[in-house]
Amino acid sequence: MVKVKSLADLQNLKANLQTKVDLREKGDSAERLVQVRVAMATCGIASGAKKVMEFFIDELEKRNIDAVVTQTGCMGYCYAEPTIEVKLPNQDPVVFGYVDSKKADEIIEKYIKNGELVPGIIPVNYETIDNNNQ
């Protein structure tokens, strides 16, 4: 475990972690690596996000797809829970809503395998602090 003892330590750590994230997105295995984030706040879990997350972990492995599946907080689209975000290599992330096992299967077969979008996309409808430069 790294102890962060000074400002320089923190800055190095951040740089390293960012490279790690970048590597995941642009590095060696990036050609293949798929990232799936499942919104797992109380609202998501109440509508079945845990099952969906397990489905992705199990099925992506069974179907030999190189992927990381992680949990995240509420994306804000509570009306469409469970929601997930899928990021294919070198592409903008896409959010899908109302994801049950059937939808998850469709997402794996069509979008993750072939890049073919499926119904249920939720367009990102907010600005982030990174692109807000007023």
């Binding site: 003892k5 923190l10 750590l13 951040k14 109380t42 994306m75 689209y77 990102v124 600005e127």
Partner: protein
């Protein structure tokens, strides 16, 4: 290539199904169905300009598309690669077409500051948080700023408390910093008790580090080494994530002794609340943490002078804290350009009720209710008519049609007879009875009053009774006067914010929906059909064929009539269960 057609409820009402059908047909005819996929999406948050069609990968954004436009989109855009100009969005400023959604950030009404990492990072992995700048603000403040400078930056940012009161955060810190003591405390208020509110829970579940970091900054500024999070035990997931986060930060040495070698030490502990609304009030909260009864006490002394264990204590809300790291990273001058003159930054709202896109939203202060409801919220469910929106929970009031274009900020909401509150926003439609809504909130306050002072304990109970009498159709005009007078007495004589604001839902519905009260009192009618006692089930003798089905199903024998002759309901016996109406195959029974 993909053609994304908005299938959100707003656009769907205006023909997105037909658009999908026509696009598909055009593509099939031109044998393009394998190259181009038509996909329905959720709401784009731009319903006013719907239906929306977006083309990928070039991000072209078509607005107000009609089914007949499918042909030009396919022939021009898909085949010839030329954008269809008449369908592009025109910048209202200069009437120029904007061709792709990357350049129309302004259509996105939301700006995520407090929610910047919610739904982005894994809240149980500190590395993802640090990669997105967590603790960079703490490092900056500790190494580059004196506490006075950091407080000044907070004052300059204009940030006001998001827990309801809207007190300037920088000023609060300044006062706490000026009170000297051997020990001071920083407290995060995570009690969140308003019905329908879940902003704070979502922040703690999605990005606990933002709150931990800000509390440490707060500690540095006021000279406190101990932080406490008061969180309701009903939030198990938020508690778990917070615990995991605190342990990870400690392991990284960003909480604990001598943080970043600066000599500043700070640590955080959790305190659990049992879920009493009044314990969100800061003095009650402090007493609850001390193991005393969760009852408010008179201010002054304010917590900044004498708070937890009698020591100077700074209490801020979860969302207030979540904003703070960004303010230090981007600067007070970045933050204070967002929002309105006296309310800076954004506000997170939990959008609920009769609205299509129920969810968590964050908008710059000054956004109008219309934008929130009709664009981000996707409009009213089932195409019903908007009636009111309750902000500020049980302490707030309702806003109506005439407030739709008021920019939302602390001062405008107060001027409109409501308040910001913590951010619950409950939308009501024509099927909601406003007298019943007022009664619902009074139900809540009667439950939650701590009972310490008579006006709140007894007065609210009486208010509730009066409302109940009106809902039952037994009210008189004098009852309405009583409601108003009693409300003012309770407001003026209660000790804490709970009692001082609890009559607000009554006063604001009286102000905005006087007619509806009058109908209940005078005509014994509830136009929304909510108040059961004012409804009558009536059999229309025309369509009634005398099948006796209703008479047989009625549990109290209220229906009489000859076989094959018209039936009638004895209103003095009927208990309004509705069974007869469901049973009648000839639609002869209706509610009046």
């Amino acid at each position: 290539m993909h053609l994304l057609v908005c299938g959100g409820t707003g656009c769907r009402a205006s023909a997105s199904d037909a658009i999908v059908g026509k696009l598909q047909k055009e593509l099939d005819e031109k044998n393009l169905q394998d190259e181009v996929q038509v996909v329905m999406t959720g709401c784009f948050g731009f319903c006013e300009k719907g239906p929306i069609v977006k083309v990928l990968p070039d991000n072209t954004f078509y607005v107000q598309v009609k089914p007949d436009d499918a042909k030009v989109i396919v022939e021009e855009h898909v085949i010839k690669g030329r954008k269809v100009e008449k369908l592009l969005y025109k910048d209202p400023a200069d009437q120029k077409e904007i061709s792709d959604s990357k350049h129309m950030g302004f259509y996105k009404k939301q700006l995520r500051i407090a929610l910047r990492n919610c739904g982005v990072i894994n809240p149980e992995n500190i590395e993802e948080a640090i990669a997105r700048d967590a603790y960079a603000a703490l490092a900056k403040v500790l190494t580059e700023m004196t506490p006075q400078q950091a407080i000044q930056e907070m004052i300059d940012s204009g940030l006001r408390g998001r827990g309801g009161g809207g007190f300037p955060t920088g000023m609060k810190w300044k006062i706490a910093s000026q009170n000297h003591a051997d020990q001071k405390y920083v407290v995060c208020n995570a009690d969140e008790g308003d019905p329908g509110a879940f902003m704070d829970r979502s922040i703690l579940e999605g990005d606990p580090h933002s709150v931990i970091e800000a509390m440490a900054i707060n500690g540095y500024c006021i000279g406190a080494t101990k932080g406490l999070v008061y969180i309701r035990a009903e939030y198990p997931l938020a508690i778990e994530r917070l615990k995991i986060a605190i342990n990870q930060v400690r392991e990284y040495g960003l909480l604990g002794d001598d943080i970043l070698g600066t000599g500043f030490s700070f640590d955080i502990q959790l305190r659990y609340g049992a879920g009493a609304f009044v314990c969100g009030e800061e003095t009650a909260l402090i007493h609850s943490m001390e193991g005393e009864r969760g009852e408010p006490t008179f201010k002054p002394p304010f917590p900044a002078e004498s708070g937890y264990l009698g020591k100077p204590t700074n209490v801020n809300n979860v969302e207030t804290y979540a904003n703070i790291p960004v303010i230090y990273l981007k600067g007070a001058n970045w933050f204070n350009k967002i929002g309105t003159a006296k309310s800076k930054g954004t506000k997170v709202f939990a959008l609920a009720g009769k609205i299509n896109n129920v969810g968590l939203i964050e908008v710059p202060m000054g956004t109008t209710l219309r934008e929130v409801i009709y664009e981000i919220g996707g409009g009213i469910k089932d195409g019903k008519k908007f009636k009111a929106v309750q902000t500020g929970g049980p302490s707030g009031g309702c806003l109506t049609e005439k407030h739709l274009d008021t920019p939302i900020d602390y001062d405008n909401l107060i001027a409109s007879g409501s308040m910001m509150g913590s951010g619950g926003m409950i939308v009501m439609d024509e099927d909601d009875c406003m007298v019943s809504v007022a009664r619902f909130y009074l139900d809540f306050t009667v439950e939650e009053s701590c009972g310490k002072c008579a006006p709140c304990r007894i007065g609210n109970k009486r208010l509730h009774e009066q409302l109940d009498i009106i809902c039952k159709g037994k009210g008189t005009l004098a009852d309405m006067d009583k409601l108003r007078n009693l409300s003012h007495v309770i407001k003026d004589t209660s000790l804490c914010g709970l009692g001082q604001t609890s009559p607000n839902p009554v006063l604001s519905t009286l102000d905005n929906f006087y007619d509806e009260y009058l109908e209940h009192v005078h005509d014994k009618k509830c136009r929304a059909g909510v108040c059961k006692d004012l409804m009558q089930y009536i059999i229309d003798t025309e369509p009634c064929v005398g099948c006796t089905a209703c008479a047989r199903v009625c549990p109290v024998g209220a229906i009489s009539g000859e076989r094959k002759g018209p039936h009638t309901i004895d209103q003095t016996i009927c208990i309004k269960c509705g069974a007869c109406m469901d049973k009648c195959k000839f639609n002869a029974i209706s509610i009046h």
